[in-house]
């Protein structure tokens, strides 16, 4: 239950953070909060905490692959 409360509080923070208008910083702030929320959902709702480690490792590997794609594409676009 507290997991749900935490997720709601984080949602309120994201929405209000946007109203404050932090310009360029906002993208990173919003993605950072979204990542915290996603981690909470994965660890508690999706029971990663109670599963064998191998699934967590696979998930992290998937995210590493995805982040690598993003970084490589941005490097490509930035130096054209």
């Amino acid at each position: 239950m507290w997991v749900w409360v935490a997720l709601l509080i984080l949602t309120v923070i994201t929405v209000s953070a946007v109203l404050v208008d932090l310009k360029n910083f906002i993208v990173f702030a919003a993605l950072f909060i979204a990542t915290i929320k996603a981690t909470i959902v994965a660890v508690y709702f999706m029971h990663l905490k109670f599963e064998s480690k191998i699934i967590s490792i696979m998930l992290i590997l998937t995210m590493v692959v995805f982040i690598t794609f993003i970084l490589l594409t941005f490097v490509d676009y930035s130096y054209r």
């Binding site: 994201t14 029971h47 599963e51 941005f74």
Partner: protein, 198 residues
């Protein structure tokens, strides 16, 4: 003789499928971030046309539905099938709330002529066009996942009724739940990227 069962392998299989889903949406997020990087102002302007209020309501609906799915799994583990079915119905109700909101939201966009191909759409800035292409495609694909997820949860309810999902055999229920949480996870990123960042 009982049938051989490997719950851990079943769940791992489900997770591997979820990874392919993550990378499917990941590719779209990549397209979004590159185009946002190239057209910062049109994206910000187009983003401000979305309704933050409806978006927030939908975020709360999905987060709460994620909670009810998790609660229904706990209920089946404790051998309370009726309670589990109740929580699953509640989840489907939240999914309906989400889709009804989406209907009104998309309906308003159609009225404003912002759907790709409409007259007004053809006259707006190229960057804003890109934003609405991505908006309709990504929220549309996500909405499709919401529908599929609800149907899957309907099957879970059916199997609990038939006693094929029980307190000592609930891996099907868990996998249905995992799919539902994935739908929530994707929305957690879609919401700030489309509605909030200006």
């Amino acid at each position: 003789m009982t049938l051989h069962r490997d719950d851990e392998a079943s769940k791992m299989g489900m997770w591997i499928f979820l990874f392919t889903e993550l990378l499917l949406f990941g590719g779209l997020f990549l397209v979004y971030s590159i185009y946002r990087h190239k057209n910062p102002d049109p994206f910000a302007h187009a983003g401000s046309e979305l309704d933050v209020f409806i978006g927030t309501i939908n975020t709360i609906a999905l987060i709460t539905s994620s909670l009810t799915v998790a609660l229904s799994i706990t209920a089946i583990q404790k051998n309370k099938p009726k309670l589990a079915i109740g929580f699953l119905w509640l989840t489907i109700v939240f999914a309906l709330v989400f889709m009804v909101n989406k209907y009104f939201e998309w309906g308003a966009k159609f009225e404003h002529g912002l759907f790709p191909g409409q007259e007004h759409f053809m006259s707006i800035d190229k960057g804003e066009q890109l934003f609405f292409f991505l908006y309709f495609f990504m929220t549309g694909l996500h909405g499709l996942h919401v529908v599929v997820g609800s149907i899957l949860l309907g099957f879970v309810i059916m199997r609990i009724r038939q006693k094929r999902v029980t307190h000592d055999n609930f891996v099907f229920h868990e996998n249905g739940g995992l799919y539902w949480h994935l739908v929530d996870l994707i929305w957690i990123y879609l919401f700030p990227l489309f509605y909030l960042i200006k």
